[in-house]
Each structure stands twice: as structure tokens, then as C-alpha cells.
Symmetry: D2
Subunit: 305 residues, 4 copies
């Protein structure tokens, strides 16, 4: 199975002021990502408010991303849902439109408490797109599925033929590394926390990753990997430290889904607000965030069109 | 606003073996509930695997329940969803088909951490069915929304004109009582844990309630209220103790959604299995459960056709 | 084994301004409790900041309470500690000085995750006072020991000859009742939440209890039981509702250990502050609390000397 | 203030079979640690079952370690306790006997929920040993004190003159790095998870650390740092991967405090069992653990006398 090398971006979903999905900015969005070194997109995930979208919106977004994605730019469709029947349908659709791959996080309801539940859930979905690699998206802080990923790999490996690996969005680099080493690297372990790319590289990981702050800071996050590979440790550290400072700022504004999305407007691509229950940033908050970003000279270094 | 008096049942959703919704048993189901003293149904909630259904399935189920519900039998439609746009649509549909009321739990994703998020979420949904009473369904063990319900009542009361009250499925009878007493009982506090109807009655609560084990044990749960009102404390205690024993059994079989649903088959109304990621009971487990129920002489006392 | 009938009070530990234990007020304290209908004390527990005291202080406090306790007034000594060797020593001391009983909560460190760990912990302690009844103090919100109490009773019953029962400070009246019914009431289930005495009585429980707000509101909490036994349901409800209002107030001031202790000063028995890391109330907070208590006419109805 | 460079070991506390502390092995223990490259000890912490010891035992252990520690071998005394008065006394004692430094974790009871509580707690303790550096020991998985360490540093820096830094035993290398960078490295950030020394080094951290598996695997953990500094990345990775395999084994045997302590016996230094409520390993478990360690050829590479 092909491995993902480099960074994939988890895009935000653009909305009109009336709350409907706005498919218009996606073409420019894709160009921006390509220009700044991203290798693909992981759409309709947490950054993309996938769980807040209808199945129809999710499919239309997938179609639109497929239309605008240049050759070799991977479109991976997150199809996770509380309703496995919907997930299955979204998986079938992703394969039909020629997406590169699919992924799904554990459902937040019912909260998954046993490995077997998770394996069965992934099995039913992955079978809907048998020709595409399936990635499990591990983000327990969002869905409460605090399960051992090593145990999951062992349980899943003979059950799901197109199982490719894990998007690992959790703090334990120890567990990440154990999964990475399992059967000499049988599975593709995508790093999923932009704040720790450099330490993960040092362990031998983070050959591929999926980022959320890559939307606006991808150029520097890609730079960490390039600097590391070039043996420029100090440069890699500076880029990682800078990227953490960017994350510090969004943490003051309800995180990436709310604050990060608004940064897109500040760098020139207005994607609108968020769906309820997310609380949109006020104009005052936007001003304050802009000031904080200026203080770290973000706009001189961020993704550029 | 009309108060709910007596017990409403949260029905299971029947499935065919192939996993599709089976609308056929609903007519008999409604008759069973009426016969055993239930005053209505709260459909598509947690017992009904509402989150595991597509919007279309949820609407068809609502329509079917409306068709079979006799006069005065309340059909309340749970419309909660991670996608507030879907919830809004389901609310509009519920009003259109003449449902008695609607309800919604907090979305499990994103996890609600602030009262304001919850108020806004409920506001957008309730506005879709302005002529129907809206009940917030408080079940934090399922969605992580551990918020103060008294603070929520204060925040919501001038924001949502058709806000009726709370289906309170949590252990704190202290908080329940404080909500019940708020502004001399301004809001309808529906008791939501079948294991504690009697203690709640003693405090002055549980005038209305929504049960999950009422599906098969409603006659005894209704009996608790009748006995209490008749001053027959010892009888009420015996019925409450028995009802706890029934709950003890389902706790051995993954709870009401899995184990409780299978009891329906044992009393004569086969509703099929559960959707993934729920793990269906095996035949061995069914046998074992049946034996445990016989041991407490459940089948002599349960809901009867 | 003798059952506890009525309410036992969990006293606060008096401190001088310099932070040392002040044994002087204990005599008046005991008189106050007797006068307002309490049947004994559960000392050095959570209200008594037992975990914040040295072993020597705990033993001196136990001795002082024994000296001032009138005949028939039960002194139960909480001997729980992270150091089981200390707990054992405190248990031996309690028996030596003639205390009525002992108790211990699960240690907060290491966090107890298995029934067997808890049984062994209790076993070693209880063996230090073989002639006294041993009560397990279940308060998982404080120590994280969220274990099934029914499973614990089954595990402990043939292991600890002087095991008497549980001080149950948790919201699940369902679990409380199941423990109460176990082997026809073999164990003494002491109710441990002053906010729900009435509902617990209705189920048949709360024959005995240990309170924290009984320190200043014991007369009304005892009144709930008396009214219930006299068949005066409305009176019992009024007293329970009032007692919840008192608890509402202390919840605004960091709970019973901080806010409740300061109420003692307001009713005439200054017990000083709390040990670090508790944050003592400021004078402003005290004024505000007093005003809130006046608003519910607390001082007209509270414990009196 | 002097920085800690290299790895400090958190020793286990030796017990006799009767459960009393055995001070005899400590001399050989110190020699073992020196020989395998450790720079000091952090005694009476979590590995040392400090919370399970009496104050007297803790002081005698501190005295014994001071007696046997060679010149330049740092003895840091963990003095944390639920009783701040005990902690203060232990801090004073540590300074009196000439310890190099002191440390304290947040008390597990009452659970710390506010920065100010933690600052005050540390302040009272640190003031007992004003001439020694004070380290806060951040291990929230053990005591529930999930507070922002950056916010803590800001709150503490002008309050505690001898505050030196943090022993950081948590997974967030992002937060670790932010603390490390605060005010150009004003505080000493000791790395506290042996499974991630290499990734932490890559970020610029882990100049000093405190380990728990260094007791028996120190030579390899020290080797990670040496290899990294020598530019031997592959060697560092191999050593880190091996060290993770060792940790995998102890995770099968209730972790370092139970399983790790028993490894000491297997490498030639029998330290006895654990205090209740820890469940000691059975002989069968010991055999199984030994087999697992042999499978990874641990005994060929571990700490040697």
C-alpha cells in the first residue's frame, strides 16, 4: 500500500452567512495548499465540521474537492458518523468519485468502550470502499475512545483488508512509536499534532502527517520536516517553536475549529463562521487575535497565495 | 403549557435482520404500551438508537408512530443530532405531522462545555417547531454535557418561548428538586431514571417521567406511582425494588439498548438487533438473560399483550 | 451488630489562627450537637480535614472527643490515610480509647482501581480494632474510587469479621438500595448526603446517616426523619427543601469544608480556618454568605446552643 | 541556581517481609546507581511509595541516602503529603541534613482545582527549606491536578524565591516545551517520562530528567542522551526503542511501582514488596515477567553492579 509522505491538510468547511455550505472558495483553497507544500486534504473531519454537516453536504464537498484537486494531490474523505449506515454510504461515494482514501474516527455516541466495537464499526465502513486505503482517526479527546491503539492494530489487521493505518491525534509519542514499530512498520502512522512534529521525527516517525494548523501555517510545518531531513536541527527547532506560538494564539480563541478558521479570513480566504453549537468569534475577538498574531510576526511567515 | 402526567415510554427501533428499519411491529408496539398504562412515546432517543438512524428513517418512524398512536397518546420526537441543521429539519417535520412535542439531548460532538453553547443549540432547534413544547434531554453520561441544569433553566427561560422542561436522566435528585422548585415549578421536570421513581415521588417530583425499561416493565413502574398516590407505601417499595431487580439483569447484558431490546422478543415482540457499534446479544446470552429473568419471576409480572 | 439509628455528625476540626489544632471548643461543640438531636460524631473525616492532620493530632482529637462525649453519644473515628501503617495505628488507638467504631475511605493515592485492593486495605485497618465495627466510607468524588459497592460487599463479607457497613456518600440511590437489600439488610447502610434524606427514607433507607451540614442544620435534618416517621409528608418536604437551600448557599463558598465551617462562627462557635490547600473565606465572602443565609431565614431555624 | 544535567533516579523503598522499611540495601543501591551513570536520587516520591510511609520513615530514609551518597551525587527529597504541616516538617528536615533539593507533587486530596491553591501549597512547603531548590512534581495522572503548567510558572515565579522548576511527568511535549522556553529558560524543566527522552532532546529539552525505570535500565536511558549528544541518532533510537520495550513489560505487571520494583530483585538487589493497597506480584507473575524480559534480552543490557 502506498504510504503518505509529507503533510496532508484538514481543511475547514466554508459557510455563507446564512449558514449554508459555500463551495465557491474551495478552488482557491486547494491552490493555496498546493503552493505551500501540502500533499493533500483530509476533508469533513473535525476541522471541517464533518459531524455538523448533512450527508448531502459531505458528498458535495467531496465532489468539489475532487474537481479542484490537481494530479497527485490526495483527497482523503472522513466518513465517520454516529450512523454507520451513513458512513457506509459516504465511503461508497468516496470510492465512486475517485477519492484517494477514506478515514473515520470512533463515534462519540455511543461512546466506544471495547476494541471489538471499534473493529466492527471500522469493518462495516471500510467494506464500503474496498479499493481505498482506510485510516482510523484516533482523537480520543473528542470522542472519548481512549483505547490502546496497539491492541486495536492487532485486532484489526486480519479483519479489514484495506486498513492502512492511523491518524494519531493524541499526546502519547510512546504509544505512537510502539504502533509505528509494530511488525516492522506494517501500518502507516500519520502524525496528527502539529505541535510535536520535530520530536516525532527524532523517534523516526512523522514521515506522514495530517495537520489542522497547516491551513495557514503549513509552510512552516512542512519546513520542520525539510530542515530535519537536511540536518538543520536549529532551523527545525525554530520552526517548531514558532508553530507552537501560533497554536498558543488559537488556544485563546476556542481552538482551531473556531479561531483557526478565522485566521483564514485574516490571510485572505474568508470561510465564514461555524455551525452551532460552536460559538463564532466576535469582531472584538478577531481584532485581538490579529494583534496577537502580529506580535509573533505571523503574517510575515504564514501561508501565502 | 400542558404538563406530562404519568409515564412516557422511550421505544426501541425495530430492525430487520439485514439492518434496515422494520416499521411493521410499531402498531402492535403502541397497543402494548397503551394497555400497560403508558401515556405516550419519546421516539428516536437513546433507547431508539436515534443517533444511529438516518434523517429519513427518523422521519418515517415519526410518521408511523403518529399513524398508530391512539387519541391522547403523546408522540414526542427526539430530534437531537450532531448536525443542528438536521435537528432543525426533524423539528419542522415533527410539527408538520402533528407530534405532541419534541426533545433534544446535547450533541456528543462537539462536547458541550458552556451553557451558552447549549442554549443556542436548543434555540435553533426549538424554533423549528414553535407550536410544540421543547424538552431538553439531560443525559450527561452519554454525551459529556455535565452542566448545571439550574443554570441552564435560568439561561434558557427568556430565550426559547416553547421551552417546556427537562427530561432529567441523571442521579442527582438534589439538582432535580432544585430545578423542580425553580419559580414555583415553572418548568416540567420529567423524571428519567426508572430505578428511582419512588424516592423522587417522595420529594414531590416524578409527576411525569420518561422510561426506558417501561417497554417491558411499564406496568410495574406505573404501579409505583399509583401505589404512592393511594398511600400504599409498602406496595410502592415492593414494585420499585422489583423494578431495580429487572434493571440489575439488563446491566449484565450491556444495558437497556442491547439487553432491554432483547427482552421485547422474550415477551413476544421481536424487534431485531442493534446497529453497529452496539454488539448484539448472542443466543447464549439470550438464554442466560432469560434464566435470570425467570429467577425473579419477571415473566409473570411484566407488560402483557 | 448494633445498628446506627438517627444522624451522626461529621465535625469540623477547630484551628487556632496560627494553624495549630485548637482542642478547646470541642466540649461546647459536643453539647451543641447533642442538644440538636445528633446521635454521635464521625471525626477526622473529610469535613474534619482528617487527611490534613498529623497522626498525633488525629489521636489527640479522638481522645478529646471521647472525654467530652456524653453516655450513648457515639464517637466513630475515621482512620483512613494514604499510609496504611498510620491507619492501622489510628485504628488500634481508637479501640484503646474506647471509641464506638471506626471508618476509612479509600486512599486517594494510589487511586484504587480494583475491589481486591480495597478489600485488602480495609482488612489491614479493620484488624487493628477487631472489637469495633468498621465502616467503609464511600465518597468516590473525593478519591476516585468509583467501584461497585455491591461487588465490594460481596467481596468483603467473609474477609473482615468486624465489617459493619458503608457510609454511602454518592448520588446513586439505586446502588444504595441494592446494598441495603443485600442479604435482607445484612449490612448497615448509612446515608451520607444531607440533600436526599427524604427520598432515601421513602425507599426504606436512611435509618441511620452521617451528615456534614448537620453541624449547623442538624435540627432540621433530624426533623425530616421525625416528620417522615410521624407521617407528616408535607413537613418533611419543607424541611428537606429548606436543607437543600442551605446547601445551595455553601456551594457558593467552596462547599462544606470551607463555607460550612465558617457558618459555625456565624452561629456562635468559631472554629477558625482551614489548612492549606483549602482557601479560607475572606471577610467579604463571609459577609456575603451571611446575607444569603439571612435571605433564607437560616438563623431563625438553625442549630441553637 | 544550579541546573540538573543528566538523569536522576527515583528509587524504590526497600521493605522487609514484615512490611517494615529495610534501610540495609540502600548503600549497595546508591553504588549501583552511580556505576550506571545516574546523577542523584529523588527519594520518597511515587516510585518510593512516599505517600505510603510515615513521616519518621521518610526522614530516616532521607538520612540514610545522605549517608551513602558520594560527593556530588544529588539527594532530592520528595516531601509532598496531604498534610502540609508534615510536608513543611519534612522540608525543614531535608535542609537540616544537607539534602541537595526538595520537591512535592500536588496533594491527591483535596484534589487541586485552582492554580492559587497549588501556589499556596508549594509556598508553605518551600519556605521550610529556603536554601534548597524546590521542584514541583507534575504528575496529574496520579493526583488529578490537571492544571496548566505555564500558568503555574507565571503564578509562582514571584511568590517562591527558591522555586527551581518542574519535574514534568505528563505526555504533552508541547506544554513541556512552552514551559522550557518561558523567559528564555528561566526554570529547570526536568523530563519525567523515560519513554520519550529522545523526542524531548530533539526539541531542546531533557537536559535533565528524573526517571523511574532508571533503577534497572539507567545505563540505556543515559545512553540515549550520550548518543544524541554525540550525533549518533540511530544509536539513540535503538536505545529509546529498547527502553520502551522494557516499559512494555512492566506495564503487564501493574507498572513500575510493583513490576519495576520486582525487576530489582531479578538483577540482584531484592527490595521486598509493596505496601497495601498495592498488590504484590505473585511468584508466577515474577516468572512470567522474567521470561518476558529475557525475550527482549534485557538482562544482557540492564544496570550492572
Amino acid at each position: 500500500m502506498e504510504r503518505i509522505i509529507g503533510l496532508i491538510n484538514a481543511p475547514f468547511t466554508p459557510f455563507y452567512e446564512n449558514g449554508e455550505v459555500n463551495y465557491e472558495p474551495i478552488e482557491a483553497y486547494a491552490r493555496l495548499l498546493v503552493k505551500n507544500g501540502l500533499k493533500g486534504v483530509f476533508i469533513n473531519g473535525s476541522s471541517g465540521e464533518g459531524y455538523m454537516l448533512t450527508d448531502e453536504e459531505r458528498m458535495k464537498l467531496a465532489e468539489r474537492w475532487m474537481e479542484v484537486a490537481p494530479d497527485g494531490f490526495k483527497v482523503i474523505v472522513h466518513v465517520g458518523s454516529c450512523c454507520v449506515k451513513s458512513s457506509r454510504k459516504l465511503a461508497e461515494h468516496a470510492q465512486k468519485i475517485g477519492a484517494w482514501g477514506i478515514g473515520a474516527m470512533a463515534p462519540p455516541f455511543p461512546k466506544i468502550g471495547r476494541i471489538e466495537e471499534l473493529v466492527k464499526y471500522c469493518e462495516e465502513i471500510a467494506a464500503g470502499a474496498p479499493k481505498l486505503p482506510f485510516y482510523y482517526y484516533h482523537i480520543p479527546a473528542f470522542n472519548g475512545a481512549f483505547l490502546s491503539m496497539l491492541a486495536f492494530l492487532k485486532a484489526v489487521e486480519n479483519r479489514i483488508p484495506n486498513f492502512a493505518g492511523i491518524k494519531y491525534t493524541f499526546e502519547s509519542l510512546y504509544e505512537y512509536n510502539q504502533c509505528r514499530l509494530y511488525k516492522d512498520g506494517k501500518f502507516d502512522m500519520l502524525h496528527g499534532q502539529d505541535e510535536t512534529i520535530l520530536p516525532c521525527l527524532a523517534m523516526g516517525g512523522a514521515q506522514g502527517g495530517i495537520g489542522g494548523t497547516t491551513n495557514y501555517n503549513g509552510i512552516n510545518l512542512v519546513g520542520i520536516i525539510d530542515a530535519w531531513k537536511a540536518g538543520e536541527l536549529e532551523k527545525a527547532r525554530e520552526l517548531q517553536n514558532f508553530s507552537q506560538e501560533v497554536i498558543n494564539v488559537i488556544c485563546h480563541f476556542r481552538g482551531n475549529i473556531v479561531g483557526g478558521k478565522r485566521i483564514m479570513k485574516l490571510i485572505g480566504l474568508d470561510l465564514g463562521g461555524n455551525r452551532t453549537p460552536f460559538q463564532n468569534m466576535t469582531d472584538d475577538e478577531e481584532k485581538q487575535m490579529k494583534a496577537e498574531l502580529e506580535e509573533i510576526r505571523f503574517f510575515e511567515r504564514c501561508n501565502k497565495f
